[in-house]
Assembly symmetry: C2
């Protein structure tokens, strides 16, 4: 038997899977929570509180979880170390940390451990918004060519804003940081003593382009004089596509993990993007949606198109040889959770408790008894802004149609429908702008909600296939490991081959119901009109409300 | 001491108050619930269920409550029967019943008691909507001149639709009904053996006009051939302004009530309208708002204007000598109750229980801690349609601005603000179309909500005076009784005099806060834009949603 080890580094925990590279069968899996979790209140060991919107991680947690989970899967499977032909990993991004030349995180040095900027900034660190605003404004003013690839705007989560925030707020630490490195690349650096940059994170979060490279030094200098050599120095290292072999497991780490020294280690990939191979998608035209608190939409094409309001397009970013497109909905499961936690009356909770079910189940059951349109409501799914196709974080939610007779399940259903309409907008944007979508594969926690999946099928008019492997990203990471091994070392010759061998068939396919097409087409026409009216500047009431909320005028009362 | 007896007939109960006519002091009060309550499920003693939207009352309940409450106030006060100089009453309208020539309700006859159309149709009987639609359509087609006085549309609650429904669905009963009479006028008929029609109900609900009379027989004949003599025969009886003496208490009823025979009885008034004198309003320019489950706005003027979307204007309809205008918001307290009952999570209820307070209190306290605009939300207050100024029952609610951080109290406040914006729209409509509004007096249950009252003051930019007497309509009815007595019999010479003597000063005045004007003016501009956009046909999504709800296309799922 030959196995590949897939490592999946998330927001709260890491997971390891050991996968049979011929069948794709997961023979063992283990997860471990990060001891310090998401650091958003105060640094470990400190009583000082972090400012709003900060979110950090402790790199030491990553290594601890790595050791524990790899030991666990090796033990559980009983696999021999030499049967592991390769190691692949996925990681959140942009999750970036400052290190010394030898890779030591600055936060691991006593001198700096009380400095927030010494720690790893997690993907959802949003405190660099002012910097992101300036980056966007300057890039627009200068007509920077790379901006159009990201729908005309980059987010505060991305590399340049995070680096610029560090430079401005902690210039001594920025100067001391010999390298700024993605968590994914840092783990590979540890395991192989080789520092490369994975094309996925570099492209989607670091504004790298395969042909044109990085933003020019004079643009960076215009942001801040000391930022001009960011890519040449602090981000040095060649950019390699996911799955390409970066190096081999060094003896110290082979020993710590109980693996063989010399085991090939693959260039990593972003966690969401790992779901593309994990979901069995190896070619253009198949939209892969990871549906959870938010939804990430990934699609490949033969060509590079500039699609309005799409978060990014990166050559080699997912499956080498293709252009990978990414879009997203900023709130999906989060919107349902908001409603369930904050807006549902006690009777529903009592029923859920009595029946030993979740409130989501109770609401979904009641909502499923309604036919399309019967709730008499329509929502815009912008509770957390719009990530695609409007790319506007300042948009907010809208619910239209409630009456005195409206019940909780009717709103619940309207919220689900709204997110499905939002997905249809994204699909339509891809198609209208020349990126074909032929079929759809889904993964993530929401795929367990049958009502939701059926509504998505009905509203998009398309089949929704649910990926066969629940740990879809971890499987994708394992596929990368098998590719790093290469066919001569018993692995796979390409990611396409790995996917063909290792991806299981869909767990389930939801098919659109004919009778639901007409009412949902009518509702979608209304959704689209509201979308344009409130989203494209004709009525900016959401912006006005936001301004008033953040406080111009008015005192306390009564 | 001289007293007037005020009788207030509501939806669920009746109330009597005995009021000192010189000071306005209420010396005794008593209430009694109607035994059969609102009959909307099945007739008393029957297991057959009534169709949707039916709402009936049993006239026998009115008489029982009348006897009980009058005995109670006479006993409690110890007043001598001869010290009661007059009797006045208010009643819901249009609440209409079919009777024989001698006033016997058809439902009191054994032959008809199992026939729904034999009972009194309560004001909120909404089953005559198809008839109302036809009345409106025909009147518009023919350009009936009276239609403009009612904002271009009459409601299913009104007299003609209710009479037409009876004629169409129970022609034998319609033929057998010698008279159709408002509950108010029927009570007076019982007490005095004289049948008149009060100008308030006749004008606001029966399409009567002081100069032009009733709709013409040929219009009625076009609706149904047998309807042509409706006003001449079944609604015969002269129309008299509220407070005018209709007759004197007959000996049998004097004995049943423990009052003196010959006591003057006043022409009655609609319950909401009784609040105008009860609230101390005797002249043009003072808007009286009764704020409860819905809100009724009443205003007088020297002239007759046709105000867009205002429910009615009636000469002599409230205070004789003036034109009385009525407008309304179809859902106010009902919207807050909908939210509190259906949308508030258990923690809030737990806090309310722990503190022995109502959920409304808990939410209001939290909402009061927000400054204007801080909730970041805006709503359209159409959960129960719009009664003025759009007069469109098919409009529905809208909430804009929720985010993942939105809390229940923020929505609660947005709903209160929305109803206050709706009130401002009504005030603006009056003023812009030539009916002055100089000040505002309020009554009803919502006046106890301090947060709400302050928000109304802030949003309208006007002082909100709360009427001094909580039983505002009953006091108004007692004023009518003192006027029926007349000054020579120890009562008052006019309603104006009665009001001057008997109306207490405001219990409290809420004054607009300067700091809140600017943000609320900004929010109102946004409200108004949404109001026009969704309310005046530019975007008919609410109508589309209603159509889809009532079911074109789609099957059951999943």
């Amino acid at each position: 038997m030959k196995y590949s080890l897939g490592l999946d580094f998330g927001t709260e925990s890491a997971r390891a899977v050991l996968v049979d590279i011929d069948t794709g069968e997961t023979v063992a899996t283990a997860a471990d929570e990060f001891a310090d979790g998401v650091i958003d209140e105060g640094l470990p060991g400190s009583t000082e509180s972090l400012p709003l919107d900060w979110a950090l991680q402790n790199p030491a947690d990553w290594l601890t979880a790595l050791e524990r989970t790899v030991h666990a899967v090796m033990e559980e499977s009983g696999a021999a170390p030499e049967s592991v032909v390769g190691v692949g990993l996925d990681f959140t991004a942009c999750t970036i940390l400052p290190t010394t030349l030898d890779g030591t995180p600055l936060c691991a040095l006593d001198a700096f451990r009380d400095r927030p900027h010494a720690w790893a900034k997690l993907w959802k660190h949003h405190a660099a918004q002012p910097q992101a605003d300036r980056v966007n404004q300057l890039a627009q003013t200068r007509g920077e060519p790379w901006l159009a690839r990201y729908g005309g705007k980059i987010s505060s989560e991305w590399l340049i804003p995070k680096a610029l925030q560090m430079l401005e707020e902690a210039p001594d630490l920025y100067a001391r940081a010999d390298r700024l490195v993605e968590g994914a690349d840092w783990i590979v650096w540890q395991l192989t003593e080789k520092l490369h940059r994975n094309a996925c994170a570099a492209g989607y979060k670091g504004t790298w382009h395969k042909v044109n490279g990085f933003p020019a030094p004079d643009f960076l200098a215009a942001l801040h004089p000391e930022l001009s050599d960011l890519y040449q120095v602090k981000l040095s290292g060649s950019v390699v596509p996911p799955g390409q072999k970066v190096g081999e497991l060094v003896p110290t780490w082979a020993q710590r993990l109980g693996l063989s020294p010399g085991t090939p280690v693959a260039a990593p990939i972003i966690d969401a993007h790992a779901a593309v191979p994990g979901g069995g998608v190896s070619q253009p035209g198949i939209l892969l949606m990871i549906m959870g608190t938010s939804t990430c939409h990934m699609l490949m094409a033969e060509d590079e198109m500039l699609v309005e309001g799409i978060a990014g397009v990166v050559e080699d970013g997912i499956v080498p040889g293709y252009f990978g497109y990414e879009a997203g909905q900023a709130g999906v499961g989060d919107i349902f959770a908001w409603f369930v936690e904050r807006m549902v009356p006690p009777e529903y909770r009592a029923q859920a408790d009595r029946q030993g079910r979740s409130l989501h189940d109770v609401l979904a059951e009641k909502a499923a008894a309604l036919r399309p349109g019967e709730n008499g409501m329509l929502a815009l799914d912008w509770w957390n802004g719009n990530r695609s196709t409007l790319m506007d974080a300042d948009l907010t939610g809208l619910l239209i149609g409630p009456t005195l007779a409206t019940r909780a399940e009717e709103i619940y259903r309207a919220l689900i429908e709204a997110t499905a309409f939002g997905t249809r907008m994204i699909i339509d944007a891809f198609i209208q702008q020349g990126v074909p979508v032929e079929s759809i594969v889904t993964g993530g926690g929401l795929t367990k909600n049958e009502l939701l999946m059926q509504i998505y099928a009905d509203i998009t008019g398309r089949e929704m296939a649910v990926a066969g492997e629940p740990q879809i990203s971890a499987l994708g990471a394992a596929m990368l490991g098998s590719v790093a091994a290469g066919s001569q070392a018993g692995g796979h010759g390409s990611l396409g081959q790995a996917i063909a061998s290792m991806a299981p068939p869909p767990a389930r396919v939801f098919r659109p119901k004919k009778a639901h097409q007409l009412p949902y087409d009518q509702l979608f026409a209304e959704y689209r009109r509201l979308y344009d009216y409130f989203g494209r500047g004709e009525n900016d009431v959401m912006k006005v409300l936001r301004r008033l909320r953040s406080g111009s005028g008015g005192g306390q009362e009564p």
